[in-house]
């Protein structure tokens, strides 16, 4: 009776496109040229949206904002892998995911501008609202996936979170449920190397975040999160697997938060220029551009055109968002319960009175 091996595990890392845009054709997912261009355009649109959001915040036109720069490949490619009937559950940095699924841009600006109406997701849009408390959306996605299974839907659920979220009990309890009930959910961890000022190496002692799946008895894998092809391939496979009833997957997308944590943050306090420069070389947009150039899918004129188009869309969204009327007193009271209880009616009256007399 020597020490018997009772479990063996392996974690792999998928890279399809390297930093220079060289592609491993054997691994490349089947994507038409049109789709590849679409992914590129969505990344450009997302980055434009993001840049303008940061600018708006500086001008005091929206509130604290969490930029997504650098994470476009992960967000766009994963969202693009969703079927129409699938759902996604975001954390708070997933603007590019919403954008890829064609969410009204102006609503995103409204939300970041401090208005709940930006979170009134359109009825036919399969996504949940932003979750600010880190990791807390994970059990919701799991419960939703459970409902899909309960109903016999052929639907998968994709839930986004960061490296920091893996330290939270919500992550643990959610993933464990998913494993036990074999739920159709894909856990997409955007390991952007930082949780505010904490590098992922000090968030956990585990070498990869992907290996955390071993604790829950399902597959975990790493992918190069700055490569649209890797992300698309891994997420698509995992969603298909989920829909076929083969259970959950944890995907760690290794990427980088190129900007500050939020507009209130100053990342230069805790990370080096060298690191930033190093990761700038792996910019997901540059990388796809290099590939497209080589594949004859890109020229300067094309880039110019889509950049202008993106800026137009974004500008229009800003205008729309800013032309929305300020929410009213009743908006404070109307949405807490299905009906407005008497105490809230009275409180609304109280507020109205105090506002009137002020005039």
């Amino acid at each position: 009776m020597p020490e018997e091996v009772v479990g063996k595990f392996e974690i792999t890392m998928l890279k399809v496109l390297d930093v220079d845009g060289n592609c491993d054709e054997t691994l490349k997912p089947r994507l038409s040229d049109e789709v590849i261009k679409k992914l590129f355009e969505l990344m450009i649109l997302s980055r434009t949206f993001d840049d303008i959001a940061v600018k708006l915040q500086r001008e005091g036109r929206i509130g604290t904002y969490a930029p997504g720069r650098g994470q476009e490949a992960t967000q766009v490619a994963s969202a693009y892998a969703l079927n129409d009937s699938d759902w996604f559950f975001p954390a708070f940095r997933e603007n590019a995911v919403y954008i890829t699924k064609n969410f009204p841009l102006e609503m995103l600006y409204e939300y970041w501008g401090g208005d709940e109406r930006g979170e009134k997701i359109p009825d036919d849009f399969n996504a949940f609202t932003v979750a600010i408390p880190v990791g807390t959306q994970i059990p919701h996605a799991v419960g939703f996936a459970w409902a899909c299974k309960f109903k016999g839907d052929k639907r998968a659920v994709l839930v986004y979170f960061g490296d920091g979220a893996t330290s939270r009990g919500d992550f643990h309890e959610g993933l464990n449920f998913a494993g036990v009930f074999k739920l159709p959910v894909v856990f997409l961890c955007q390991n952007n190397q930082w949780a505010i000022s904490l590098p992922d190496k000090r968030q956990t002692a585990s070498k990869t975040l992907a290996q955390k799946a071993i604790a829950y008895g399902f597959e975990g894998k790493q992918v190069d999160g700055n490569d649209v092809f890797s992300v698309y391939k891994a997420v698509k496979e995992a969603l298909d697997k989920a829909r076929s009833g083969d259970g959950p997957t944890l995907i760690e997308c290794v990427t980088y938060r190129m900007g500050n944590h939020t507009t209130s943050d100053d990342a230069s306090r805790y990370r080096t220029k060298e690191e930033i420069e190093e990761w700038a070389k792996r910019d997901p947009i540059d990388r796809l551009r290099k590939y497209m150039k080589r594949a004859g899918l890109w020229n300067e004129e094309y880039e110019k055109r889509i950049t202008v188009e993106a800026m137009e869309k974004v500008q229009k969204a800003v205008e729309k968002a800013e032309s929305v009327q300020k929410p009213e007193v009743k908006d404070l009271f109307e949405w807490t319960y299905s009906d407005v209880p008497q105490r809230l009616r009275e409180q609304q009256e109280e507020l109205n009175l105090s506002l009137k007399e002020r005039e």
């Binding site: 709940e116 009134k120 919500d170 299905s338």
Partner: protein, 324 residues
């Protein structure tokens, strides 16, 4: 009519609602083949199968968080948290999410879930098995809180809770799970959320309570019969509170005692005092008296009789306001 205890009424309501609506499902620790540690889900597993009566991992955040996800989809999850003291680890999901999702999404989403929690002391239980967490919950916007004190109300309130579009915490007074047996209609009926019940008419003092304390309150009132004429209100719905029933009674009696097991400070008794103060101040003939658990952790059971409001303490409270 069937003769049922409170815990049987829970089961009866669950069973009927599960029959009526195939989107109702029960989840929690040991709710399946074991029928729940209090047997409140006994037989449901056998009847509805493991798809609708689901044993979960030992994971309160997971249970409440998953219930939110199930409810978002449109199902009607009824989760059991095994004991009061284990609800705290799900507070974040309750406070940050269950209570805010409708508001945050401007009505696009809502979470019609029920969390059943056996609560309160008096059963010689281990630590963390005797808490009364209602004050935390009532302070939290967006969730409703109810607790029955009779088998009839148990069935009617639980059915209301399951059908309600908002998240409802259903506190079950475990101490009296089997203390009363009464006639409960077999057919479907509801006791509306938000309505208190005056269970004893009286002119001198208003005695307000809920859950297991209602029986203590009634006993105290009966003992004072002939001396002080006590009106007893079973609050039933803790959030929203039925202010009207309360203030109407106080307008008549001018004297009030509230009774609850939870610690006094910032307890629901304080809110009732404040509401009465704000609304029927001029009717008040005496300060509102609170007979409550003390501001200490619920003790191990050798001291629990000292901790819990006794009939004697309630009587003293009534006498105090009556003679003010």
């Amino acid at each position: 009519m069937v003769q049922l205890t409170i815990v049987q009424a829970v089961k009866f309501a669950l069973e009927q609602e599960m029959e009526r609506d195939s989107d109702v499902l029960v989840l929690g620790e040991d709710v399946g083949i074991n029928g729940g540690v209090f047997r409140a889900t006994e037989g449901l597993f056998e009847k509805f199968g493991d798809n609708r009566v689901v044993d979960t991992p030992l994971s309160e955040t997971g249970i409440v968080g998953a219930a939110i996800g199930l409810a978002l989809y449109g199902l009607r999850p009824v989760a059991e948290i095994q004991f009061d003291g284990f609800l705290y680890s799900a507070f974040d999901q309750l406070i940050s999410h269950a209570g805010r999702i409708r508001n945050r999404s401007r009505g696009r989403f809502h979470v019609p879930l029920v969390i059943r929690v056996p609560y309160g002391g008096g059963i010689r239980a281990p630590e963390h098995h005797s808490d009364s967490p209602e004050s935390y919950l009532v302070h939290t916007p967006g969730i409703k809180v109810v607790t029955p004190s009779t088998p009839y109300d148990t069935k009617g309130l639980l059915i209301s809770a399951i059908r309600d579009p908002d998240p409802v915490i259903f506190l079950e007074p475990k101490r009296i799970y089997r203390a009363i047996r009464e006639d409960v209609p077999e057919e479907d009926y509801v006791v509306p959320l938000g309505e208190a019940k005056t269970i004893r008419a009286g002119n001198d003092v208003t005695l307000i309570s809920w859950g297991a304390m209602v029986r203590q309150a009634m006993a105290a009132a009966e003992k004072l019969k002939g001396k002080i004429d006590v009106e007893v209100i079973d609050l039933r719905s803790l959030s929203p509170i039925d202010v009207e029933t309360v203030t109407k009674s106080v307008a008549k009696t001018g004297r009030v005692v509230t009774v609850h097991e939870a610690p006094r400070t910032c307890g629901l008794g304080a809110e009732i005092t404040a509401l009465i103060n704000e609304r029927v101040f001029l009717s008040l003939k005496a300060p509102v008296e609170r007979v409550t658990g003390f501001d200490v952790p619920f003790p191990l059971y050798k001291l629990e009789d000292y901790y819990l409001p006794s009939i004697n303490r309630i009587i003293k409270g009534i006498e105090k306001v009556a003679s003010f």
